[in-house]
Symmetry: D3
Subunit: 243 residues, 6 copies
């Protein structure tokens, strides 16, 4: 199968890192097509960033559809534009936060989330509520590490992250940890080895769920809320959506 793995920000290094993680997790028969919008912010750390990136991201969904991919993955922990993407896609669209929550709940009584900026906590809480995992989550912790500092992770950044993970385990009672940023995906194995609990990276989780749906022949229901949007006129920089 072919998966359109979308980094919704415009940071090339992040796109490459995410693609590496996805490829390591994918079956050999799965082709990972790493993609990113040409427009929008270089990282997503506020509601403002997310709104801009969401609009840009939909162009990449459209490209993937034209390329006849079998699934799309939105590789940003806020699962931006997920509903909109499902409306314009004919194949499944999976967000990495939702994917991570699902797998984490299978291997732990309570999981914790360790994410980047304090500013993104409401987004994580919204997603826990949206997907219904709030009662299975021991808490969301912010490291206040900037997303772009995750592109090339320094020792002190790793130490801060690990320290917050330990608080999640020992203070909050987490039994597994969800990494709350696609940019942390390359730390999964190291943290799992050092902390000795399941560490769930949403990028890998989403790849496995996309493969699962594909193998079972399951696609988004297109006759209800995720049906194609009504045709209408778009103006200005969004005129390309008229076609």
């Amino acid at each position: 199968m072919r998966i359109n793995l979308i980094n919704p920000n415009t940071c090339v290094g992040m796109t490459e890192k995410i693609a590496d993680s996805a490829r390591a997790a994918a079956l050999s028969s799965t082709e990972i097509i790493a993609s990113m919008p040409k427009d929008g912010p270089e990282s997503i750390e506020s509601a403002f960033d997310e709104v801009i990136a969401s609009a840009a991201l939909l162009d990449v969904i459209k490209q993937g559809e034209e390329n006849k991919v079998d699934a799309h993955i939105i590789a940003c922990f806020g699962d931006p534009a997920l509903d909109a993407a499902r409306e314009i896609a004919s194949v499944p669209v999976i967000g990495i936060a939702g994917a991570a929550f699902q797998l984490a709940s299978l291997v732990a009584y309570r999981f914790g989330v360790v994410t980047t900026m304090t500013r993104t906590l409401p987004a994580s809480e919204h997603l826990l509520h949206r997907y219904g995992y709030q009662h299975l989550c021991s808490g969301v912790r912010a490291t206040d590490i900037a997303v772009l500092d995750l592109e090339h992770i320094e020792d002190d950044v790793y130490r801060e992250l690990k320290a917050e993970c330990e608080k999640a385990l020992f203070e909050d009672g987490a039994e597994a940890l969800v990494l709350g940023c696609a940019g942390m995906s390359d730390l999964t194995d190291k943290l799992a080895a050092e902390l000795n609990v399941p560490i769930i990276d949403g990028v890998c989780a989403a790849v496995k769920l996309a493969e699962s749906l594909h193998q079972l022949g399951l696609k988004t229901c297109k006759t209800g809320q995720y049906g194609s949007p009504l045709k209408k006129s778009f103006n200005g920089r969004y005129e390309h959506w008229n076609k």
Copy 2:
């Protein structure tokens, strides 16, 4: 005071209608500046439309800030981009759905919502939950009237809308009705006269709340979640956000 009243779609007739309603509700000392994005969809009836309109809408918030308005109103019942707008605005930003829920709850034990397309029901339900009014709402009903059919309302469209309002009152137990589209704002008085219950139009409600905050000197807290976004690089069609 000066209010930036934003119609987030690109339909000129709708913008004018909303402005008329707002001006009728405003104090004589309040100036209503009707605005709309130059980019984006002509109406908002899906998650896809909303994502595109949200990005476009933020430009209009920015213009309003440059014009030194005292408040912004987002005049679409989905309250699109509300959090993002609060982040980039220095003055209060009010969504018409939230505003309508607040005033409705002051004059009725349970209020109903009558909106446009079935497709928009999840958005209304999300907002009821976000603002905490789910238990005070007797239900949301869709008329499946297209938003643009509200620009110039025909008799049969009015009859359909009124019929759905009556179901909300007599089947669901609503005691007041919230009109679930800015494009319905000119029907408020007619419906109130014919149905004899409080009819709440979010546009008017938002104007009164904006005036209330202004008179009390209350502005969005800018030191927490609604603080200004971190400066970062934006690419392509969003490069104007670099400044």
Copy 3:
């Protein structure tokens, strides 16, 4: 318009203070009629006090109705007898707690409440639930300042109150503060200046909402749960309700 501003306890100084705050917040066209029951407790700090004050308060609603006021405000943070008042009033009745929650939610992601006695915490929690604002509140903090000590506020009382406000901001994550007692209304400006966050006094908030409803022509729906009570016989000290 004319507002019946009711202090439900029998403390004259408190009634005057509340009236001053209300008048400062009101439009010049709004007349504030300060009123209080001649019966009942001098302050409300327990469920017992509230039950007695509630029965007494309804007499003041009735007087206001006879005086043909345009709205009633119940100026005690427990919003006592709100439903009963709405049943016997023809015009809107607004409680100051509900009013404060509404405006606070417009200017902050999470607001905190700072109130008087620990004994009143369950009442605040009940109101947050009733109005649906629990998830938007970062917590309710009691100062254990007696209500009557707020009549003439000493320096040390102010310091205690401010210290609790700071805990709400820095420990609980509040981004705006609701003052949980009508007797604190004269401290709004001082606290706002010193703490640099929105401070919401329910008395002022209720005045603005009463004006808003009046200007929009919105009144309590009288055909449902808030309809007039059935006529029936009242005995003893409540015989005046037979008329």
Copy 4:
């Protein structure tokens, strides 16, 4: 033990009926002291009635305390003034709605409530929430039988009540029925025989719970929220509370 069984309205016939039910349910060693306020409404069918009756009811709690009873029962399905009563009583205070919910949940997967006026539905819903039994209740149904019509129940009133009970069983899926008015307590056996499901009368349930607490030596905790109210000045018709 001696139980102060309080009918909070001023209808003598109702007080006698309730006392009969309570005595039939009580142990031979339990003395039922039937009491009622000399002030207030003859029946409780609105929030307004409840506020007045609540203030009047507290006098009867005080009398019971002076008579050194071992428990108080508030025999009105709204459980009016329960918290206030617990504050001024030294012995347990039990409301009949809460008592009925408890026993009903022991003998059925889901119980239904059949009550009097539609106007009282919000009160029942509030109590289900307060006590936490909402998810165990299949629904609350109003018969729109006036409370005073229950004093001497005619055949047609009984038929209406039974018909609503059958709807609760067969349409809502109730497996036991709680009678939502103290005035229905004499119908318990007849309905149980004819409907062949557990019928729970709150008056009897409250008597058994009062006896249970007494036999186990359990009394209301007086060091927390139900502690005695602070002494303060009461004016006018409530001056007797100064003592």
Copy 5:
């Protein structure tokens, strides 16, 4: 009446202790028949233990039915197999956790639970949710005292337990305490005397509720979810259920 008081583990000393507590709480006309399964674990401290004990416990319910008891009590704080027991019993089945929550809520604004192993906390939380008492509980605290160490309680075990009780009162705000293990039932009086708050032992609470139901003639509804299971074939060590 005759109560089948079931200790679901196979520890004889625990069965005797529980029986003593139950007899002290019972009316003189109530016969307590202490019983225990001949199969299963000697204590219940994990989900695994509970599953095994649940299957074993049902045999004891069946014996009780054959002995024509008037009620069954499941005397383990997890209320194991409660629904299954209600299906195969003709008379009420009461779990001690649910019973304790009910009586505790009658004498305190918030109650705390003090239980044995940390491992059992999820079970307590599940029960609070199942019965709807989560919002009335100030928290569940584990002592990490093994169940069998409660058979003969040493001084240091008592001190640990009491210390945890004090934390529940002074840190969590509990106003009454529920003892979260049947094996603690003999400590009720001592703790109540020393801590001066209501202490609720579920064994005693369940006895009083069983007596209450019996005296009111209330039995489990057998026509709905708690109806007798369909007859079917059982294999192997469960063949005795074929009869």
Copy 6:
């Protein structure tokens, strides 16, 4: 990888059918080991059946552990004994209901569940709550088809099932359907073809999730709530657990 696919009832035909479904869904590198307990009921249709089957099922988990499988699947829609199984297993244990909810939520806005007996509805509702999918489920519908009638499905049974599926879609608003019994797994393709919406069989879903966890190296956290039970003495027919 090797998966211990457990049918918790003792019906051989059901075990074979489930194995066929699982094998069709599995990767070629996955070995499905179909297993069933030698003890217990031939079908699970009540809480009683489930308690017995749960105890029996744990023996099959133990066998699987001895066989060094890589995951266990509990193939009964009640996900019986899931927590207990996770305690005694070293590898992931997946229930088919939870697995089905997860995949269904990825391809539909709301999914419906169509299950067997009305008696099993509370079990489904409990699972929706446990996993947090209640708000994503449009409703659970019972067909009152007996589980064993699913062993060899007749035309009329299929028609009944399909009719209930259509009600879920057209009356409840489901956009995907979860089959609420492992015995329906062979109908997935036929229903999907005829109803044209995603049909999710939990057996297949669980196989894909087991493979996903295995490929990512994720195993149950054994240091918290799912840690191995404390060693203790087991009596009678459970003596084999002493070893």
